[in-house]
Every structure is written in C-alpha cells, then in structure tokens.
C-alpha cells in the first residue's frame, strides 16, 4: 500500500540506487558463472553417482561473452545469413504477440469468473475447486486436445490456426491467478463501504463498478503480473508441444539440437525469452503507474 506513494514520487537518488542494485545483481551472476567455470572441476562436482554441480567445459558452460558474442554472428550456413539476434528478435516478437493474445483472453475469462463468483456464493463453491484443479492438468496433456478441437472449428471464412491453439493454452495458464486475485480484490472492500453503498440504495452493478473494481486493483496488479509470466511460459511450452513454427519455443529446440557443435547458440533464444518476460513485466508496471490512484492506502482514523 505504501509502495504507491513511494512510486508516486521517487527521489532521483533512490531510482539511481535501484538501477545500480539491479545491475549489480546481473554482474554478480556473471561473476559467479565465470568463477565456477574457471575454478570448478571439468567433470563437475559429483557425489556418489549424482552430479550436483555441472561440468565446466565450454560445451556445458560457455563463457558469458561467447553467448553474447554469438548473438551478433550469423545464424548458420548460407541460406540463412542474418545475425542470430535478428532471428531471435523475430521469434521473440512472434512469441510476445501470441502470449499477449493469450494474456488478454486469460484476463477477460479470469475477471468474468471472479465477478461471477463474487456475485453468487454458490458459483464460488461450484467453480473455485475446478479452477484450482484445472491448474494441476499438465500442459503437455491438453496441448494436443486443444489443437484437435480447434481444427474442428469452422465458422464461414474463419479457420482455426495453430497459433490460436497456443494462445488458448497460454490463456489457460493466465486466467488462474487473475480469477483468484480478482476474487480476493472484489471481496476486499470493508463491510462499512459495502453498507455505505447499501445505504445509498444503489444496486450490485453500480457497487461493482464504483466500489469493488477500484478496490480490487491492489490485488489485481500482482495477479496480472503472474498472468503475464504464465502467458509467456505457456506460449513457449505450447509452441514446443503443438509444434508451432516461428516462435521461441521451436527455436530453443532447434538450437539445442545444434548444441554439440555450437554451445553458445543455445543460449540465444533463452535471452530472447528473458527479453519477452521483461517486456511483459514492464507492461504491467506501466499499467500499475496508470492505475496508481487506486493503489493509495487509507490511513486508519
């Protein structure tokens, strides 16, 4: 709650410090990686038959600068002459687009479910267990089903495409935190606020839009952030299991197959996935700034 005011007027100094700490975290990670690579045993740390720390060969742990450098070299043989980062960027944009569609669908479905559960207590008892159960079904299991069902859909000129299956799976992961977070948020107004609205003689819908939705924002924002992360992960995984070309999922598999000859290249699409995640998180942060007036806390009297 108090974070709202902190973000509302950040001191220049504090912002700088935060950036410095963030950068220091990355540097620390690089230093740890390189330090272990330089000092650790080539065959890794093995206890009994169990490898608890990885091998330090160039194959298993390429130098950080090799990974980054590889991004700026050409992708491979003659037919595909663009630098790796161009390919990764294209795949990232594609994946981000599909994830965004999945996120939007997931947020809409999640919100609708939450509103339904808030309105009808029986709906909450009937639907909530299924919402939680839905998340225990492995993605790999539902991916082929979604694809098969989708391919049977046809309305006039509309045909189901594979990317839509991927978006549906992404939304399947994204709706969950939204429905749970929004339900908590919609139920968050104090009794006194609810009774105040009752004393005004206004109906449930007006109460929803004037009281419950604004009050749910502090609960909704973390849920939306989780949903964004879930949508990105769901998209990448679903791209692999459905076999959709053009995104990061397939690229990770393709590059991993070349790992024995080109270990640094494997990391390129992983950087892409991180970038996609950062863009998604940045979007939610922006949303948080736009909604900052709903994140103020009332100081108790």
């Amino acid at each position: 709650m108090s974070r709202g005011s902190e973000k509302g007027a950040p001191r220049g100094n504090q912002t700088l410090r935060r950036i410095a700490f963030g950068a220091a975290g990355i540097v620390l990670l690089v230093v740890l990686w390189e330090l272990y690579k330089a000092l650790g045993p080539a065959s890794g740390v093995v206890v009994g038959d169990l490898t608890i720390l990885p091998r330090t060969t160039d194959l298993a742990m390429p130098h950080v600068w090799d990974m980054v450098g590889r991004l700026f070299e050409n992708s491979g043989g003659g037919r595909n002459a663009a630098p790796v980062w161009v390919d990764v960027l294209q795949a990232s944009v594609f994946t981000l687009g599909v994830a965004a569609v999945g996120w939007v669908v997931g947020v809409v479905v999640g919100m609708l479910l939450a509103v339904l559960m808030q309105r009808f207590r029986t709906a909450e008892s009937a639907v909530l267990p299924w919402i939680i159960l839905s998340q225990t079904v492995p993605l790999i299991a539902i991916a082929p089903l979604v694809r098969r069902w989708g391919s049977q859909l046809e309305f006039g000129d509309f045909t189901w495409e594979n990317w839509m299956s991927v978006a549906v799976i992404a939304s399947y992961l994204a709706f969950f935190p939204v429905s749970i977070g929004a339900l908590r948020g919609l139920n968050s107004p104090d009794t006194i606020h609810v009774e105040l609205f009752r004393s005004y003689g206004v109906g449930w819908w007006r109460t929803l839009f004037t009281l419950r939705l604004p009050a749910s924002v502090p609960y909704l924002l973390p849920a939306l952030r989780l949903a964004a992360a879930n949508a990105v992960i769901g998209t990448v995984v679903a791209e692999v299991s459905i076999g959709l070309r053009g995104g990061l999922g397939r690229m990770i598999i393709e590059f991993a197959q070349q790992a024995s000859g080109d270990p640094a290249k494997t990391w390129a699409p992983i950087f892409g996935a991180i970038a996609v995640g950062l863009v998604a998180a940045g979007f939610i942060a922006l949303l948080g700034v736009l909604l900052r007036r709903y994140r103020r806390g009332e100081v108790p009297a």
Binding site: D190, E195, L196, S199, L211, R293, Y294, R296, P300
Partner: protein
Amino acid sequence: MSEAPAASATQPVTATDVAAAVQVTGVDKVFVGKKKATVTALENIDLTVAPGEFVSLIGPSGCGKSTLLRLIADLDTPSTGSVTVFGKTARQARIDQEYGIAFQQAGLLPWRTVTGNIELPLELHKVGSAARKARSAELLALVGLSDFAESYPDQLSGGMQQRVAIARALAESPRLLLMDEPFGALDEMTRERMQTELVKITAETGAAVVFVTHSIPEAVYLSNRVVVMSPRPGRIRDILTVSLGSAAERNEQLRENEAFFENVSKVRELLHGEAPVGVRGVETR
C-alpha cells in the same frame, strides 16, 4: 427524569401532524447463530425521534445501540415490530435517501479525493456535475476543509477524515443523520472540537440526529434527549431530557456549566443504576 416524549421543549415541532423523523414501535431483534443458538440483541424497543431533534443512544458494549441504529438505517431488519422513518418503512426511506449515515471509521474511498468522496452519493444518484461541484464546495466550507478539496484521504488526519465523512453524510441534505460512534476513534481534543462543530452543523441544517456513543459527556453535550440502554437483552432503561438550551446556544463554555455536570451525573446514575461516584464530568470509557 424520564419521559416518553414526542418533541423536546427546545426543538418544538411546528405542526402536530408532521411524521416523526424516526418511529420505532415494539421492536425485538433476535440473531440466530450457529447451532440455532439465539441472541436477543434488542427487546421491546419503543422510541420516537422528532424532526430536528438530537437523540443519543448510550449504553455499555453489547447493549444493542448500534443494532438499533442499523435497523433504522435498514442495514438489518427487526425480528418483530416496525421501524418507520418520516412515515415510510425503513426500506423505503433508505431507497428514498431520507438519511445520511456516518460510522466509527470514516470509510472514505482511498482512490477518491476529498471532493470525490463528498460527491460520491450525489454521483451515484446522478446529480449533474455543476450541482455536485457547488454542493461539495459548500460542504467543504461547512466542515472547514476547503483547502483540502483535492487531497486524498491518506493525506488527512483522522479528525479531518471524519469531517469529510460527515460532509458526505450531509451531501444530499438529509433530514435525518444516523451516526454510529463517529468520534470514537479520535483523541479527546479533536473529539471535543468535532462535537462543537457537529452541534453547529445540525443547528444550521436542522436535521434530526440519532447518535450512538458510549461517552456520557458526549451524549449530554450534543443531545436534546439521551436514551440510556441496558445490555443482554438490549432494552431502553430510561430516557433523559437534557435541557441545556438550543443547539445554537451550546458552545465550549457549556462543558464547564453546572447544569452540564448535573446531567452527566444523571446519565451515569441511570447507566449504573446507582448513585454517582468519582469525579464528575470525567470520561468513563
């Protein structure tokens, strides 16, 4: 000492056929808990509040004074008996916005400015924005917060928040104000200042007030009549008419007045059912 009264001497009712602001007749309230255990919160309550009259409900915790207020506000319904507000059923009175309400917590919406909070009931009832602006400016002046129109609730002190809540309750110029320990969470000094302001405001607006409190001096200072309640089951033990002059005549000097202390002692006597002990006029919370 006790009266079963319609209007007090200080607030004369102009016409005899004017409906009472609040008429509570033979009300019981029984709460049914888990395993069918019942709690009788109110038993056989009869109370009439005249238009423009200030009535306090006082009693120990659990005497049902808040429950009675909630029945008048139609936030709960009586088990038996009837509650009418200006001649209408409590439900109809709520729908017609016959009353304004304030609680112990200010209950402001944290995402709305002070102005936005005061305009909330007007907005919900589709009052035009120009009329809203004019009304909120007027109310802000009334509660002395004109400089804080664009502040957010978290930037205000507890007393200021409570003043905003009172302004919000007054927004639709109700003829009846229902207040449930509105100053309960404030410090003593703020509390006394707010009491003086409330007396001033009710004098200006001419609204009837039903005021729940467990502070004896507060009840005596504010009220035309003090309703003393006893707990478990909640009953009206007695009703004391306080004759300390009209609202316009009440000011800070009244707190040092001999008649004020006399009334405080009487209420205390009624509450405890015995002769008063201890220092007079001291807060007994």
